[in-house]
Structure formats: structure tokens, C-alpha cells
Symmetry: C2
Subunit: 319 residues, 2 copies
């Protein structure tokens, strides 16, 4: 598949950090940035931009939950490259200190992505507006759209469409519940009610469909695609960046640096933290549930693979 | 997705046996058969039907490489069930003793599947004819079609079409190389040159696409689908049966017995043998290579995850 407009966003650190509270080594973050540079990825998201507080400390929540300028600059300056991807960070509604946001020209990052539930869409769009006022590229990533009343989602989409400060509207499969037909029908809905917005897609791999659903989004015309190195991400993880670059025939991409980073950094990391498909996440995705129950279940090392027990427990919770 | 005509074939033992030379315990084979009965699966393939010889002994090659009547009957008789799936076995061209095949009414199995390369299609179709003469349902599974000259494949398809003794023609993604667009285009070719044959589909999971490609085959009208419990199978494995049954909305299927078998039999088996996606198989699939190089690479426990090295080695082999 080749389409010149397609852009790839590597959210390895931001989504992967949900597993280990953003306690990545500098080496790993630098290797991820280097891989993004050398592979020709368009945008790399290096973490979240939380407000520090007594509850949310850097020690407990890790450096890449805050993305201070000094930390970002140290990573960026460590690799000299012809190709420099744009740098993104993510805001969570309710945990952002928007007053502290410097103008883009004084900042190491270029894009602010705002993750928002439908219920918080006003607050989410306010963050987009104020980020755009400071010169940033902006996205609004509507979470858990598969578990929201249809009318509420439509209203949120219409609000997004009316907000000129939003550059990209993201379809996010938060629960890993989509089959390709849901990708298509949600995208149709998003286009119908937010026709002025460019679209992005963010998958989860609960049912081994993150990569194929991303392909479906491409087929359906989406031009901004999230993926992570080796599929790292909360629970079942994300679309594997290496598989996606293999699929995209665009000569601007080179997959080899991604495999190099996997071999040198992510294979060793797997000895410390777990991600990727298993049947517990498969059930959770199929039942369109928040992954928190599945993640909790996986913490009991003795019974973590008891998928039959998890199915029965989940069906009882559901009904 | 619901379509009444769709049938599911569980090839857990036959494809899984390629990993461990068919040395499954009776308990595991019985649990697989029981799960097939209780979940409503239509057909269950319990192994290969090789000719025994000095080279191919039961001790070395395992009981389920031979599927003697006594072995099959012991499994079938161990579970009393209202629903009885059809039993299938597989012939490999060149290693089958067709003269020993008893008439279906004297046999515990119902279907003979013949795996054949395009180069051996005459021999493969002869096995189909002689199996049909004895009353069996028959399939021809053309292997490695993604690595065969187009004209040769077309000729083979035309021969299949002219062989009235073939009940099902299988599209097989032997190398795990297909994206959904290849599924669609091969199926179009198969329909064009073998219009009289019902079609089946058999996927491999090298690029995390076994399940989604099986969905694509369904969308494209295929009604006989292969899958295995927990995706067990050579290399990256197959389409996960549990994911497929979740996707198929047909009330005749019940997925719970499959999860039960996974929890009780296949989770423990994973401590002995490995299957499923990793980046080595992903590269192998993307490059449309026979999985033997990838499997060989995975045997070196020290370096088995060195995907960057494998990529470089494979590209050298290719070019």
C-alpha cells in the first residue's frame, strides 16, 4: 500500500510507559528516538505532559510522564540525523498544566495530543485551543468510543468539527474491540459528523487485530497512523511499527533501524515487563471491556493464563 | 458475521503436531476432540496419515502422524457427545499408502485432506480420486501458492476444477505472506479457474494476520475455515479458533469449551513447545520465505530474538 499523504506516528514511549509508569532508561528512549529518525517515521511521541503535584511526583510516575524540556532536549541532542521527526507529547484532560505551556518556538516539541473521554470533550477541546494558540499542531483522541451512547459521540464529533484549532481527530480502539467492519463504520460516522477534520487511527491488539485494523483504516482513507516498536503498549499492546512499515511501500521509510532497536532494547525489556496478545486480553476485547480487569487478572502469576476462569468471571460481570 | 453455510475445521492436532513430531499425549488429543464436540466445531483433523516405513516409525514420528483406527477410536470413544464433528486426516503427496485406505464405512474418519505442491498436483489429485472412490469427503490444499509461477498455478487450478472427486479446494497461505488484498486476489484467481469448487482457507500468523485474513476470506465468500486452539501450529502458528468462534455469531458454536481446553492443556504445553508470532516469523512472512530458515534461527536460544541479524541474513539470501 502506497499513498504519499500517509504519516506514521511512533507512540512507543507514550503508550509503552503505561506499563511501567514511564520508568524507561535514557538509553531506551534515545534508542527509540534514533530509530524514529533513521527509519523516517514522521512523528515520535516521547511521553505525557502531566502537571507535577504531591500525588504525581517524578520519582513515582517517571520522567516521561512529564517530558520536561531538559529531558526531551537530552534525547534529541543525542542523535545527529538528517531526518528529524516532529516531537509529540500527550495531555490527559484533568491532569495538564496548560498555563505552563510555552510557545512552540521556545519548546522542543511540535505537537500536543489531547486524550479525552466524550464526557470531557469541552475540556479536551479547550486544551486543543490553548495548545494551538501557542503554535502547536493538535490532535484530539476520543477514548472508549465503543462504549459511549451513539448520540453523545455524535455531539462530541460535531463539537470537534466546529473547533478550528483541532488539526487531527483520532479514532481510538481503546478496548481492542474492533473488527475491520467497526473500523469502517466508525470512520464513516466520524467523517459524517466531523467532515472538516483530517483523521488518525490508534489500535489495540487484544484480538490480534491492531495491525490489520490499521490496514483497514488506511484502506478507508486515514492518513495518520499510530504504531509502537514491537507493539509495546498497555495490555495487549498496539500496532507493531515494524509490521506497518513493511506494509507501507513508501520509500521514505526504512524498517531496519526498528528491528535494530527491538534486538538491542526491546527484547531485553521483555524480561522485565510484559505486553502483547494473550487470551485474557482477547476475551476482554471481544466483550468490549476496559482492559483494567484483564490487567488485574494478569497480575496473579499463578493464574494469569486461566482464560476459562476469566471468561466466566467476565460474563458474570457483564450480565 | 453470520452465514449459515460457514463450517469450521479444527486442525489443532495436525498442524500443532508439526512442532513436536506428533508426540501429543492421549489426554491432550482427547481434550481437543472433546472441545471440538462441545463447541460445535464442524470438522476436527486429528493428524496425518503417513505410510509407516523404516524411516518413518511411530516411535520417532509420533502416533498422530499415522492415525491408526485404534488410536482414533480410542479418542472418539472417550467422549460421549450429542454433537459429533466429522473426523479428518491429512495425506502428504509421496508419503501416503493409498492402497491401505479402507472404505469410509469401515473407518473412523470421514474426510481425507491432501496437501500438495503445484508441482505434484497430478499425484495430489490421484489421492483425492482414490479417497473419493472409497467414499470420503476430499480436499486439495495447494501449498506455497505465493511462491509459484502464475501460469503453473492457473494450470493446477484448472486441473482441480476438472477433478469431480475434489469436494473442497483450499487457498493456503503457507508462508504467512498474505495481506488481506492478497487473500482477495488469490480467491478471485481460484474462483476464475476453478469455478465449480467450494473453497476453503488456511492461514498462518507470521504477520499477525491469520485471524484477520480468515475474516477477509469469509467476507470474500469462503465457507470452510481452518483454525487451531490457541493458534498452535508450526512457526507463527495459525488462526486462533477461539478468536474465530468469537467473531462468528452462529449460535451453533460455543467458545467456552475451547477456553477450557486452553487453560487445562495448552497453557501447560507452552512450557514445552513454542508457537505464535514473533518478529523473526514476521520478517519471514513479509519476505514470502519458507518458514524453515526462521525455525532454524529460533533454535539457537541465545540469539533467537535477534531480528535485526535475521533481517540482514534474509535479505542477503534473497538478493
Amino acid at each position: 500500500m502506497f499513498r504519499e499523504e500517509i504519516k506514521v506516528l511512533d507512540c512507543t514511549i507514550r503508550d509503552g510507559g503505561l506499563i511501567n509508569n514511564y520508568h524507561f532508561t535514557d538509553d531506551l528512549v534515545k534508542a527509540t528516538y534514533r530509530a524514529a529518525c533513521d527509519s523516517g517515521v514522521d512523528i515520535v511521541e516521547l511521553g505525557k505532559k502531566l502537571a507535577e503535584s504531591d500525588e504525581y511526583t517524578r520519582e513515582k510516575y517517571g520522567r516521561w510522564n512529564f517530558c520536561d524540556d531538559d529531558d526531551l532536549n537530552r534525547v534529541i541532542d543525542a542523535h545527529d540525523s538528517e531526518h528529524r521527526p516532529l516531537i509529540a507529547v500527550m495531555y490527559d484532560v484533568g491532569r495538564a498544566d496548560i498555563d505552563a505551556l510555552q510557545p512552540r518556538e521556545h519548546s522542543p516539541f511540535d505537537m500536543v495530543r489531547t486524550a479525552s473521554y466524550v464526557a470531557d470533550i469541552d475540556k479536551g477541546l479547550d486544551l486543543c485551543k490553548r495548545s494551538k494558540d501557542q503554535g502547536y499542531l493538535t490532535t484530539i483522541n476520543i477514548m472508549a468510543c465503543s462504549a459511549v451512547p451513539h448520540a453523545d459521540l455524535i455531539e462530541a464529533l460535531q463539537q470537534v468539527n466546529e473547533t478550528k484549532e483541532v488539526d487531527y481527530l483520532y479514532l481510538v480502539d481503546s478496548y481492542g474491540a474492533f473488527y475491520s467492519e467497526q473500523v469502517t463504520s466508525f470512520l464513516k460516522l466520524y467523517r459524517e459528523h466531523a467532515p472538516d477534520k483530517a483523521l488518525g487511527f490508534h489500535a489495540h491488539n487484544n484480538q490480534q487485530l491492531a495491525f490489520s485494523n490499521t490496514q483497514q483504516a488506511i484502506i478507508d482513507g486515514v492518513n495518520l497512523l499510530d504504531a509502537t516498536i514491537n507493539g509495546i503498549g498497555r495490555g495487549a499492546g498496539n500496532c507493531n511499527l515494524e509490521l506497518l512499515l513493511n506494509f507501507l511501500k513508501n520509500p521514505k521509510f526504512d524498517v531496519a533501524p526498528i528491528y535494530k532497536a527491538i534486538q538491542e532494547q526491546f527484547v531485553p525489556l521483555r524480561e522485565e515487563i510484559e505486553w502483547g496478545f494473550n487470551d485474557i486480553y482477547g476475551i476482554s476485547g471481544h466483550l468490549n471491556q476496559h482492559p483494567r480487569e484483564a490487567m488485574k487478572f494478569r497480575k496473579d502469576k499463578e493464574n494469569m493464563d486461566n482464560c476459562y476462569d476469566f471468561l466466566n468471571k467476565s460474563l458474570k460481570l457483564d450480565g
